[in-house]
Amino acid sequence: MLTVEGLVATYGPVRALDRVSLEVPERSVTAVLGANGAGKTSLLRAISGLLRARSGRIAIAGRRIDALPTEEIVRLGVAHVPEGRGIIAELTVDENLRLGGLWRGRRADLAARLDEAYELFPLLAERRRMPASTLSGGERQMLSIGRALAGRPRLLLLDEPSLGLAPQVAAQIMRLLSGLRERSGLTVLLVEQNARAALSIADRAVVLALGRVVADEDARALAADDQLRHAYLGF
């Protein structure tokens, strides 16, 4: 589904990604783990075109996307829940959600997709017509996730989705992800600080350190590998 090869990305002189390669099979959840500053966010941003790669290639289902503008990448079915939520505070909750599904066109379908999101997060349903700026931190996170799902993506990039969510909701999201993979064949690239939770639902896990891939393994194997776990995941 997603292939990354030799990806290098920099901020000025800082190398945030250093020859990163990874392969994400279709219908899988891949966890991206690593300490703060390891380059996880940069990796997701590079995939969705927000950060231009210096070199290397990124392909989705065989199609190169590293030169495409973000919006075209998204239109290939890539949804990105960015770090820090990225809601549009001036628009209402409903408008934010609608935007997530708009690129797919198909109006009737859209209403159904919105309803699903509201069903998933009933708190948002109550706030449909309110500007998103009034939402609490967790509610914003819900909106951001719900919005990404409203586009029915093929590949979902999640940057710390549980940030600010109550434990119950965070767990719910994790379960939802594995459910979606099963039911609708979604492919997920999941960045999480809560490595334990991420590994519990992931098929594979990639560990980044200082912009490099230091491990790329089966999730269960990684969870069992005490050495790696201690060195990079701190538990």
Binding site: Y11, G12, P13, V14
Partner: protein
């Protein structure tokens, strides 16, 4: 900015050994005042020599650049460091100019006192306007100050007897002191006065922006909520920034009287206000050095463009509009080529060269330098 913390000078009483004199010299330059004064003294010397080298009209241009600098420097602090946009600084200059002439008419005061009064008067008006401005943001502040720029000079028409109506007021130019000799050119004297005021403004603003006030200005600009939680009274900081820049505009207005001997509504049009703002952005927002570039461009560009037009012997309507054309092209061109303004581009280039020379890399990307570091 150095990472090392400057240690406070030891309290009085401790005797320094002679061998420490050199390090003391260096330490003296660490002191804000002395460093800025040294810079100003150097500039003063340069300007002094320049004023003898330049012809009379060019001295006048120098004086004009100096008063534009004063106004733009104040505006760059307001807009660049505090994030408040003002399209009304031309009107504040008008207050300084009218105050200079009115006070000068009614009392025999030395010029310095008149300029000080103009500065203070405008600062006081700045308190009122700043208090209103502190409630407004972005385009709404722009709109309000724009209305000010258009409306305030109209007061002159409301009180024609006092403010001279459309024709405004005139006054006599300053007289060079006789000690300078009889043949001393008026324009050089005007340049001296304006440049002296500009240097004072520079030193004061450079001190201020390096101080905690400058930091407070920037903090409020970046995040009002966080600034309030850190104990900054956001409204008060904003008013203070406005007052400082209004004072500069008032002084600039007073200097305009020194240079042109006039105060009239037609001199303080919206175009003036807009020119000040564009000059600040063009030079490099938030940077005092940028204010110098901005002032020089605003003053010199039209004159140069006009001369070029004359050389080219174009048709009259083309020739007349050429300076405008050039100005427009420069505004757009600089913004496209140097988004951080001239000073931003210079320091970027300087950083690049410096890096080459020193052979190591610095974590600084193009245009991403801290606004705070661009000052001076």
């Amino acid at each position: 900015m150095t990472a090392r913390a400057t240690t406070p000078a030891p309290a009085g009483g401790a005797r320094e050994l002679a061998g420490r004199a050199a390090s003391r010299g260096r330490r003296l330059l660490d002191q804000t005042l002395l460093r800025n004064l040294a810079l100003a003294a150097l500039a003063a010397l340069g300007l002094y020599l320049l004023s003898y080298w330049l012809g009379r009209f060019d001295n006048l241009q120098l004086a004009t650049i100096a008063y534009y600098f004063v106004a733009i420097a104040g505006l760059t602090v307001l807009t660049g460091l505090n994030g408040q946009i003002s399209l009304g600084h031309g009107a504040l200059m008008a207050i300084g100019a009218y105050a200079t002439i009115k006070v000068g008419e009614s009392a025999e005061l030395p010029l310095a006192a008149l300029l000080a009064i103009a500065t203070i008067a405008t600062a006081l008006v700045g308190v009122v306007i700043g208090a209103g401005a502190a409630r407004l943001r972005g385009p709404y502040l722009a709109g309000a100050t724009l209305a000010l720029a258009v409306g305030l000079p109209a007061l002159a028409n409301r009180f024609p007897d006092f403010l001279g109506g459309e024709n405004g007021l005139s006054t006599a130019p300053p007289v060079p002191p006789s000690s300078l000799g009889v043949g001393f050119a008026l324009e050089r004297w005007q340049a001296w006065i304006a440049c002296a005021a500009a240097l004072i403004t520079f030193v004061v603003l450079a001190n201020l922006v390096r101080s905690r006030y400058g930091r407070a200005f920037r903090a409020v600009r970046d995040d009002e909520v966080a600034a309030a939680l850190a104990g900054l009274n956001v409204a008060r900081v904003q008013v203070l920034a406005f007052v400082v820049s209004a004072a500069c505009a008032g002084l600039a207005g007073g200097l305009l009287v020194v240079v042109t001997s006039l105060a009239a509504p037609g001199a303080f049009t919206l175009e003036l206000s807009i020119a000040l703002l564009t000059a600040a952005v063009l030079g490099g927002l938030g940077s005092l050095a940028g204010a110098v570039w901005g002032a020089a461009i605003v003053v010199l560009l039209p004159t140069w463009a006009e001369d070029i037009g004359r050389e080219l012997s174009l048709s009259t309507s083309v020739e007349a509009n050429l300076p405008l054309l050039v100005y427009g092209v420069v505004l757009i061109g600089v913004m496209l080529a140097a988004p951080r303004g001239i000073q931003g581009a210079l320091s970027w280039a300087g950083g690049l060269i410096g890096r080459r020379v020193r052979g190591h890399t610095e974590p600084r990307s193009r245009g991403a330098s801290a606004p705070g570091e661009e000052i001076t």
